[in-house]
Subunit: 311 residues, 2 copies
């Protein structure tokens, strides 16, 4: 490879929140807890488990408190909760002993932010300032996620300087980690490499996380470009669950098993046991009653053993 | 990007041979010709159109002579024909005015070659020597394709030195181009970058073509790694048709539209009009009566126009 690649990366599994939220059916709390346990067993050390959103808007996550109460605490595993607003934080704080990380989001583009949360970007930042400060003050490690960082389906191009400005604001509020989301899969590897090169220079001391979607099949190519630009933190979803499929039918998040397969084959350590991860995805298929889209889930892992046979 | 990227690349469309061959139904010759015409209209300048194989073994390509006879000659478009053996060449030569390129294949691994053509690699090379010499002597531009160049489902690792040795033998027989096939999707970007770096050093003056499969979702990441290692020639299949899906249900060839989408977004010129290419894929969906798997076919191209709406 032309670029220096890292020896290891961190992967946050977002399926239990981002994936389950986007399912038409509400998944039973016991199934959620069992699947989260399987993900931790597979070696995932960062798992986004739920969100405190309005139950009438997103009934799939109405059991947020029950999920947190039922989680098995695990040494070395950080559970994270998506906090949409101040009210969400208030609902989450009584359960603060049950999770370690909180994440907060807004969009880099005005139109997408307004359609998503009915606020301007400045209004979102103003509310996030107090919410993130309060969460960080309560001892939660905070991640700020910036949607449409690589392009907006309504506005087209998104100015990288604006994304970095928002990132600096979020770190000022108390975020130790910034996630850059390619919400509708518009990023390309050249853009990703250039963006993270610049972000690395301007955001020293902050963990930079890449969150790609596979909308146009380029998700892992973008992950490779990010790796080459120095990124060592990724978010993905087991089975290829969830992740804003626009338009309907399109693929959302990159699949955790495909990302792990690529990285481990490249001798980049993820700490994840691909076989056990695939067990979790197969179990999710049973719960959901449908096949999931991750390529490695269909094809199986690369098997380098001599004389092995295709499965 | 850390590496220097090319300004333009060449893409050979292999769907009309590799894709149609792997369909359960035999496609009507008129439909094949119409789809090939649409691909040429979309700007594809290299199209693999058929193969002279035994009609009792592969009835899907039994109309090879009719396809060649019906092709519209186009300025700047090279039609290529897969030639499996000496007999295939004999059958193709009477129609030599109708196509410009011939391609020939063997596997880099003994077990895969034996299962595929019931010969050792040395036996295949011995037969190919005469066949390729005859084709080149007749004025055809010859490509040698080496299957399982990045791993074998039966033997595991394939020694890069052995692949390059086979490549040198094929160029000695008269091949001006060598295609390296990742037949069951075992390649990873680190391996691809290292391999093509070495191939570029050792095979000066030969066109090196990358042929990736998306079996584990890494096809475009491997294409990016090849690009960064200096590769400017690729093979892919419109709609994501064809390409040895092992196991059944797995994805085969990378989709031409996803490759074109990535490259054009990176400002690398392919000469291909993505909109017209998608029309060809949509027409193929109608002919085949099923949806095809290319991501960009489902999601639509990235649309950077301000104020555009998700489709």
């Amino acid at each position: 490879m032309p670029a220096q690649l890292p020896d290891q990366v961190r992967i946050r599994e977002v399926g239990p929140r981002d994936g389950f939220q986007n399912e038409p059916e509400v998944i039973a709390t016991a199934d959620k807890l069992r699947l989260i346990g399987m993900l931790a067993d597979a070696g995932l050390r960062r798992i986004e488990v739920t969100s405190f959103v309005r139950a009438d808007v997103i009934p799939q996550l109405a059991d947020a408190a029950e999920v947190l109460a039922g989680l098995e605490p695990r040494e070395g595993v950080a559970y994270s909760v998506l906090i949409p607003n101040r009210k969400g934080l208030e609902n989450a704080l009584p359960l603060i002993e049950r999770f370690q990380e909180a994440n907060f989001f807004l969009s880099a583009s005005e139109t997408h932010n307004r359609k998503n949360v009915n606020r301007s970007v400045e209004e979102s930042l103003a509310e996030l300032e107090g919410t993130i400060s309060a969460a960080a003050g309560a001892g939660l490690r905070c991640e700020g996620v910036i949607s449409t960082s690589f392009g907006c389906p309504y506005e087209g191009e998104v100015e990288p300087g604006r994304v970095l400005e928002i990132a600096r604001a979020l770190t000022g509020f108390g975020c130790e980690e910034i996630g850059f989301g390619d919400t509708t899969g518009m990023a390309n590897p050249r853009q990703v490499g250039e963006f993270f090169g610049r972000a690395g220079e301007q955001l020293g001391g902050v963990e930079l996380t890449a969150h790609f979607h596979n909308t146009r099949g380029q998700g892992l190519a973008n992950a490779l470009a990010a790796l080459e630009a120095g990124v060592t933190s990724f978010e993905s979803s087991f089975g290829e669950l969830g992740g804003c499929p626009v338009p309907p039918g399109a693929t959302g998040n990159i699949a955790t098993e495909d990302l792990v397969s690529m990285l481990e084959e490249m001798h980049i350590d993820t700490g994840i046991d691909l076989g056990r991860l695939l067990e979790a995805s197969r179990s999710a298929q049973e719960v959901l009653g449908r096949p999931l889209g991750a390529h490695t889930l269909v094809a199986g892992p690369v098997d380098w053993r001599p004389a092995s046979r295709p499965r």
